[in-house]
């Protein structure tokens, strides 16, 4: 059914031949080939932004066109796909991308992190540690970490080529001088294998230490037409100062639903009297813990 082999239809067998036989996962084979070459180059040079001919996708820029293209080029018919948006499986972006691939690739989908072989994510790394047979695909809005400091693309390319990253520390310096600490809390720049400075996409800096992981990480920026990648176990160091070391902070609370102390939390406003609760942003992690009998304070109250 989904075998990506082009067979010329003979007049008699027109009914058996379907467009989807060729266009597995929406993109044509030439495009996927081009994207795979960019991915391979990215994996060969960790942190380097590889230009690629980004295609128009049936969704607006900013909704994950880069991630979708990378996923489409990565998926095989046997894969199981999970899509998360800010950690959640049930938000608009995640639901629509998941159903997009259900329709165009007919792959199995899941919300369980450990069951997925390809995970497309927007702005989070799942709490559950990933394994060597998984691929994490990030949606990236602005791939260039130096962009807001140096608007010229010619100049930023030269800075990457010559390893001139002093400017990145100017941004952190400005943070400390204005706020007393490094206030950059997401898209926190990392140095890859002592060479390229990379924007880890807008994940919270809490997730930065997880980037040295067994799974392959692929980054796709559709509008900016860049792909970059991290092979398994790549050395990633978050930039900092000697006297202001990197701090992967999170809200100092346990999850209100599952009681987890170690997960990244969303703050949810519950009424207009100042009531709030903190819950895991990774919905699968939270639900799994609740199913295993963990109870947070908020859940206990509603149950009682």
């Amino acid at each position: 059914m989904c075998c990506p082999v082009l067979t010329t239809p003979s007049p008699g067998s027109a009914k058996d031949w379907l467009m989807s036989d060729y266009n597995f996962a929406y993109l044509d084979e030439q495009t996927k080939r081009m994207i795979r070459r960019a991915i391979l180059k990215g994996l060969a040079i960790p942190g380097y932004q590889v230009p690629f001919a980004s295609r128009e996708m049936p969704m607006p820029y900013g909704w994950g066109t880069g991630g979708v293209q990378v996923s489409a080029a990565t998926l095989t018919p046997d894969d199981t796909l999970k899509v998360i948006d800010q950690g959640a499986d049930d938000t608009t972006n995640a639901v629509s991308i998941r159903s997009f691939f259900e329709r165009t690739a007919e792959v199995a989908t899941t919300t369980v992190t450990s069951d997925a072989s390809v995970i497309q994510t927007r702005h989070r790394i799942p709490e559950e540690p990933l394994s060597e047979d998984q691929i994490l695909v990030y949606q990236v809005p602005i791939p260039e970490p130096l962009r807001f400091l140096e608007p010229r693309e010619t100049e930023t390319r030269k800075m990457h080529a010559l390893e001139e990253y002093g400017l990145m520390h100017v941004k952190l310096y400005e943070d400390i001088s204005r706020h007393g600490h490094i206030a950059t809390s997401y898209a926190y720049p990392v140095k890859i294998e002592g060479r390229y400075v990379m924007d880890p996409s807008p994940i919270p800096k809490f997730d930065n230490p997880k980037m040295n992981m067994p799974a392959i990480q692929l980054f796709g920026a559709g509008r900016e037409q860049r792909i970059y990648a991290l092979p398994p176990y790549t050395d990633t160091v978050s930039l900092d100062f000697e006297d202001h070391p990197f701090d992967p902070s999170k809200a100092p609370h346990p999850c209100g639903l599952c009681g987890a102390e170690d997960s990244y939390l969303d703050e949810v406003i519950t009424d207009d009297q100042g009531g709030r609760m903190f819950v895991c942003s990774d919905t699968d992690y939270c639900e799994t813990r609740c199913a295993n009998g963990h109870r947070g304070t908020e859940l206990a109250e509603t149950a009682a």
Partner: protein, 256 residues
């Protein structure tokens, strides 16, 4: 003793237009060279060629590097040249806005060169920045203000502090006092003269203002239509000009 900068037969053409033609000179350590001439005489072209911002058509610019001795900066690899321009060289633009990051605080502007050469201690970067702001008469209270809130003279002084913080040996200045009013000019010149003397800097100052070179420069080069028409000690050239154009230039200065 080797000259700090040895320029030989430097030429730059813009198509059929001459930018500068066959310029040769030596610059010795601790010396300040003034380049004067009217607008369009090739002063800025020459300076940009020397500083590596423009590629000259022919000639050599031999700089006495710390590590490897005299070396032609034009045949150097780009990383080497850019390293020079962050450490041993400094470039003061006519418009402070060209040389500053306007969206970054004064402290960040001064600290950028330090961080570019590997400083990673916030406390020491900041104290050096404050020290340098003090040296150019900018108060410590302004260290976190952006240059957009500074006056023209302060911006120019900030640009100088930002350039000198890594202790360069050669400073290129393109009309450093252009666009400033005369009293601010006088203070800035006083400040630059003090810094140059204290740090033993060599400098090349491009200007059309005779008063600036009279105060700052040891030696003077007069340019017209891309050619050097007269060179000599500053006082000698200004008090006893030989070339017709230099005579015109000196006599054009308003005597108050």
């Amino acid at each position: 003793m080797t000259p700090l900068l040895d320029v030989r037969h430097l030429s730059k053409h813009y198509g059929r237009q001459i930018g500068c033609a066959d310029v040769s000179f030596d610059l010795w350590p601790g010396e300040v060279l003034g380049i004067v001439g009217e607008s369009g005489s090739g002063k800025s072209t020459l300076l940009n060629c020397l500083a590596g911002h423009l590629a000259p058509d022919q000639g050599e610019v031999i700089f006495d590097t710390r590590a490897e001795g005299p070396k032609d900066t034009l045949t150097m690899s780009e990383p080497e040249r850019r390293m020079l321009s962050r450490t041993d060289w400094a470039f003061v633009h006519q418009h402070a806005r060209d040389g500053l990051r306007m969206g970054v605080s004064a402290g960040g502007n001064v600290g950028e060169r330090l961080m570019a050469v590997g400083a990673r201690n916030y406390g020491s970067i900041r104290s050096q920045a404050i020290d340098w702001l003090g040296r150019v008469e900018i108060g410590e209270t302004r260290v976190d203000d952006r240059p957009t809130t500074f006056s023209g003279g302060m911006q120019q002084r900030l640009q100088i502090a930002r350039n000198l913080v890594t202790g360069p040996r050669l400073v290129f200045m393109d009309e450093p006092t252009g666009g400033l009013d005369v009293s601010v000019q006088a203070r800035l010149l006083d400040l630059v003269r003090g810094l140059v003397r204290d740090m033993g800097l060599s400098a090349i100052v491009v200007t059309h203002d005779i008063a600036v070179v009279r105060l700052l420069a040891d030696r003077l080069m007069v340019m017209k239509d891309g050619h050097v028409v007269e060179t000599g000690l500053t006082d000698q050239v200004l008090d006893d000009p030989q070339h017709a154009y230099t005579q015109l230039l000196v006599s054009s200065v308003l005597q108050v």
